[in-house]
């Protein structure tokens, strides 16, 4: 390392001298004068740059100059004087050895001097097309007295793209099947569609709920403060959406007037309840209806009957709904490692699983969530997340639930 640094500094000095020697040559102005542009790339959380490429496009002539290096954040290129639009991208290596795509802003660059020193801040540009899950908190909380507190659960979705997204009409669905038991249900459909027991739909007519790149939304079961004297729960007062239970006489939850409600468009439970599995044996997906699909048309057309044989030969038959895989933006399987039996969604959606629970009566699961790994920061300084469609790799299992201090958007 040290030698390399010395070498690089030496190289830069030599370049600087050679450039300044050019500057003394006044005659040079008469022909296309070249400038030496030296760039130093930086990116937060990047241990090493695997490869970098830069492209300069002269605005007037359209001339393109591109250069590529590997293994170094330093870079220099000779450019004729002019106005350039610059774009940089590359592959960095994170502290944990993970490779990540990087990119810079497409800034304009006026090259007027013979020597230009640029510090280029690269940000992570590993983007998705739409929302992805950032955190799922489904285990609930244990009170200081040791009782279960089965509310205060939430789904945190993030805009892991570089554009503004709209949460309007987003679907969040829970799997019908459990990852802990493979009943060999027939017909097998997971390669085409997700079998769901409960689906909720966020409100909005299309542009009501914009979400900045890198920003997140929280869909809370009940947008209240669950951080009480004896309950170490999250403060979900500022959640973006909630799905309170109001029809069940056993559970009449308060409705926060400041937080719009998601609508449970289908559930195999009564009272429009969407109940996350508290040991995390189900999977979840987020999806959007394609153009032209409505709640009504979906309800009419996507009922799905399946059955399986029990160990004693009984055929158990059920009627549920499906969501075609092509509508699905992201999916996460959850399970318990010792009991994991199968994935509950097509492998293309998620080929792994994450978990909070280690055993059936695991009390340590309370207050734990699964959280997606961060790759770095985007242009706005917000985290960018890893998504390889393998939850085993993308999520940190048994994490501490993140909203204990409340919800703060940066």
């Amino acid at each position: 390392m040290k030698y390399r640094h010395i070498f690089l500094v030496g190289l830069m000095l030599t370049m600087g001298v050679s450039v300044s020697s050019c500057l003394t040559d006044d005659n040079a102005m008469s022909y296309t004068q070249k400038s030496t542009t030296t760039m130093t790339f930086k990116a937060d959380g990047i241990k090493e740059f695997k490869e970098l490429s830069v492209e300069f496009t002269e605005v007037n002539t359209g001339m393109v100059t591109s250069e590529k290096v590997t293994g170094t954040p330093y870079f220099s290129v000779a450019l004729p004087i002019g106005s350039y639009r610059m774009s940089a991208e590359g592959v960095g290596i994170l502290e944990d050895g993970e490779e990540v795509l990087l990119g810079g802003k497409n800034d304009m660059l006026d090259v007027t001097d013979n020597v230009v020193n640029l510090n280029i801040q690269l940000t992570v540009k590993q983007f998705n097309e739409d929302f992805i899950f950032e955190e799922l908190f489904y285990t609930g909380i244990q009170t200081l007295e040791g009782k279960a507190y089965q509310v205060g659960k939430y789904f945190k979705l993030v805009n892991n793209t570089d554009k503004v997204l709209y949460a309007d009409g987003l679907l969040l669905a829970q799997s019908e099947y459990l990852t802990t038991q493979d009943n060999k249900e027939t017909p097998y459909i997971l390669d085409e569609a997700f079998v769901t027991k409960s689906v909720m739909m966020l409100p909005g007519s299309g542009n009501d709920y914009p979400v900045e790149p890198g920003d997140f939304i929280v869909i809370a079961d009940n947008a209240q403060n669950h951080n009480l004297a004896n309950v170490p729960g999250p403060d979900l007062t500022k959640a973006n959406f909630e799905f309170p239970i109001t029809e069940n006489p056993k559970m009449v939850q308060p409705d926060n007037p400041n937080v719009p409600n998601a609508k449970v468009i289908y559930t195999s439970l009564t009272y429009s309840m969407f109940l996350p599995h508290d040991r995390g044996y189900t999977g979840y997906v987020i999806a959007r209806f394609p153009e032209g699909e409505t709640v009504e048309s979906w309800l009419a057309g996507y009922k799905f009957d399946y059955s399986y044989l029990t160990g004693t030969g009984k055929e158990n038959k059920f009627s549920r709904y499906t969501i075609p895989n092509k509508w699905i933006l992201d999916g996460v399987n959850n399970s318990m490692p010792d009991k994991f039996a199968r994935l509950v969604m097509g492998e293309a959606l998620d080929s792994g699983f994450s978990y909070c629970t280690l055993s059936e009566g695991d009390k340590e699961r309370y207050g734990k969530s699964i959280r997606r790994k961060e790759l770095g920061k985007n242009e706005q300084g917000r985290p960018v997340f890893k998504d390889t469609n393998n939850s085993s790799a993308d999520f940190i299992p048994r994490s501490r639930m993140s909203l204990l201090e409340g919800i703060n958007h940066k």
Partner: protein
Amino acid sequence: MTRIYQIIQVLLVTLTILFSSNTIAQSPSLQLKFVLVDSNNKSINDATIQVTGTKDSQLKVSDEKGIVTFDLKADNYTVEVFHIGYIGQQRKINLLESQSVSMTLVPTTNILEEMVITATESKGLTSTSVINRQAMEHLQPSSFADLMELLPGGQAKDPVLTGVNPALIRETGKGGYDTSSLGVQFMVDGNIINSNADMQVSSSSTGGKVKTSSIGVDMRGISTNDIESVEVVRGIPGASYGDLTSGLIKINRKIGYTPLQARFKVDGFSKLYYVGKGIDTKTGWKLNSSIDFLDAKNEPRDIYENYKRISASLRSEKTFMIGGYDLNWKANVDYNGTIDNDKFDPDTGVQNIDNFKSSKQNFSLGNNLKLDFGKESLFKNVTLNTYLSQGIEDIKGTVFVQQSGRNAIPTGNETGISEGVFLPASYISEYKTEGRPLNINAKLQTELSFSAFDIKHNIEAGVEFRYSKNNGNGEMYDPLKPPTLGFTRRPRPFNEVPASQLLSTYIGDRMEYDLGNHHLQLYAGLRLSKMLGIDKEFSISDRVFAEPRVNFQWGLPQIKLGQDYLKTDITVGYGELYKQPTLSLLYPQDRYFDMLQVSYFDPQTNNSYAQFYTYRMSLENYNLIGAKNSKREVRVDFEYKRHKFFVTYFDEKMNTGFRDMTQFMGFEYQRYESKDVVWNNELGRPDLDNTPSSQKKIMSQYSHTENGSNTFKEGIEFGYSSPRFESINTRFTLNGAWFKTTYSNSAPILHRPGVSVNGQDYMYAGIYADDNGYRKSSLVYNLIVDTYLPSLDMNISASLQGDIFRRDLNLNRVAEPFAYIGIDNVVHPYTDESAKDPMLQHLIRPVSKTDGMEERKPFTFNANFKISKRIYKSVKASMFVNRLFTHYQSYTYNGVKVNRKDANGPYFGMEINFNI
């Protein structure tokens, strides 16, 4: 046999006269008392004792307690004991002071025969299993529930003493069809146990499995230690027994002299202690007292959930002479207390706070008077049985309630709009249910007999009144600190519920006629009963229920086969039986529907407001009547060389059983969404007049009791018992039964899929033609091989029992409804169009291939062993192990091979009995 008894009787009468004249002549100085018992400590009566001194000789006969007392002068006496069934004894006594001598007589014959450790089938007019003391001792029961194993079709079950044990006779059993067990009537010493005023209900979710209301008598509460014998009438009881449908269990307890008896039993779940003693004074006053304690756990390692039972009993019997007639007076004072305790496991509950206790105490006083007019008079006797019992039933609990978040509860108790309250997230709730059932029964009966046209008539006629009232305060808890949420009822005092009063009168005649060698017996009886004190709106109020009962027995002439005779009896019977609805069936608690109109809670301002629309509905079903069971049976008994065999075919139909039927009702109410709510700071609540609202609809489910359940019982019971083969001292008893029970609804069933669609609880309920029917059948065997070794006084038995087969079928499950009701509460036909409708399609239920496929489980085998032995003069030790060997044959169902095994493993226990 009867001849022997006649001789004994004549002898007895003669000797009594002799003895009485002797005693008058005596000038008493010293008392010599003999207590005669057999090897089982059973008193021996009718034994003749002669004491011969140098100057004096006396002869006396032992009484029912085996006691003889002589008043003698000091002398050397030779004592000689004679009894027709026992080996005579002689001994010398030097009488210097008053003394008591206990003598154990050895039987001459028949002791082997008399040792019966199974239930025996009575040869009377109706199918009855008789279980005697020896059988109970050998079985080693913890509670009455264990005795049910001895009935045809019964099998050994591990006791479950931390949950209710209802009684089932002649059926396989199915949840939701509780009329079967409700219709089993228990009688103790001629007095019925009336559970009609049992209304106990727990306010918390704990306590579901100890609910006894409307399921009849909980058998685990009945101790067996005082029982002398039990008769289980499976068939058609006489007209003097009523308010029952399935069967009658008559318990007769010991009365009269017993040595001091103690029993200590321990098994995997429980410990049982018993002490009892019966005395018999010179004046002929018999007095028995006993105390019994059972301590059971849910499972051996679970120290948190347990069940305790304490019974204490004081029984007295005396016969007086009034106007030359015998007046027999029996009085019983009983205490029975049971406690279900549940201290919560600290892993799931909050230690030191959470607890649950359901206690039931019962004090009872029975007075049975019987005036005997002697054999020669027309009226044989008059009996008056009165019985009073007061129960103190309390469910008490404390629970640390942790709500998940803030929850709103309604506060309104009447139909209309009322403000709700947001409960604190956690609080301590105390709850109590107080039941004070009072039962009074009185029965006046007379028996008369006469002969006319060679027909001997034995008539019983009587009147009976049963009164049940619950004077308890019912459920009690702070409405703002409820133990659980989602109550669909509000607490109501039980004492607001009227009493249940049942007046019955009956007459029955047992006619005997000998036609040559044929012996014919016909019993014809009629019972009329009427519920009193019921509001006119109830159709039951002006109904008189008539219950005809007929049994006919034909004793065929004895046929000589070889050396011995084959005796054959054929018995047929038909009877109608009614069980009247209990208080909680007749007067159920009102149903409350609470619909949320506002649930506003702004965490930023802490402003909150909840509002409900409450609808109160009476669930009283004015059309509810008694559940009727019609029984038919045919029985054949054979006896040859002490081989006994019987087979009974029965067919019972009950199509008016009590059943909670699901109903639906649509409601409309206003919903003010929180986001639209305009908060008025001055009022401190929302200004709902200026808040837009929407009409919300909901379809609510509830259930009410109807005479809607069918229970059809059909079956064959059989039993064979061999004599005890002398060379091996072994008896073989095989009993078993084939039961086919069909449980179904007599009314169409309403069903709503448990789904919510488009942000709305599902708003339609389908009406399905034939549904929820189950047909269960089984062929069960129980082969008991028992060996009695008189020299060791040891009894060893093996009970090899299991299923020949067991079948299970869901009947006629249909996928499509024929009609449906919507929020408009109107019935619409369900058509092909409906099936395509996005909403109505959900009414087609997922009926699977195996729903209508009978499950056929083949052979199972369990070997249970029991041994009891007298280990010292007055000490007897017993032990048992159930399911030491098991085999469950595997089978194939729907192409799947199912391997079965005994999930629980062997179950064993032991006990020690003292007779001092």
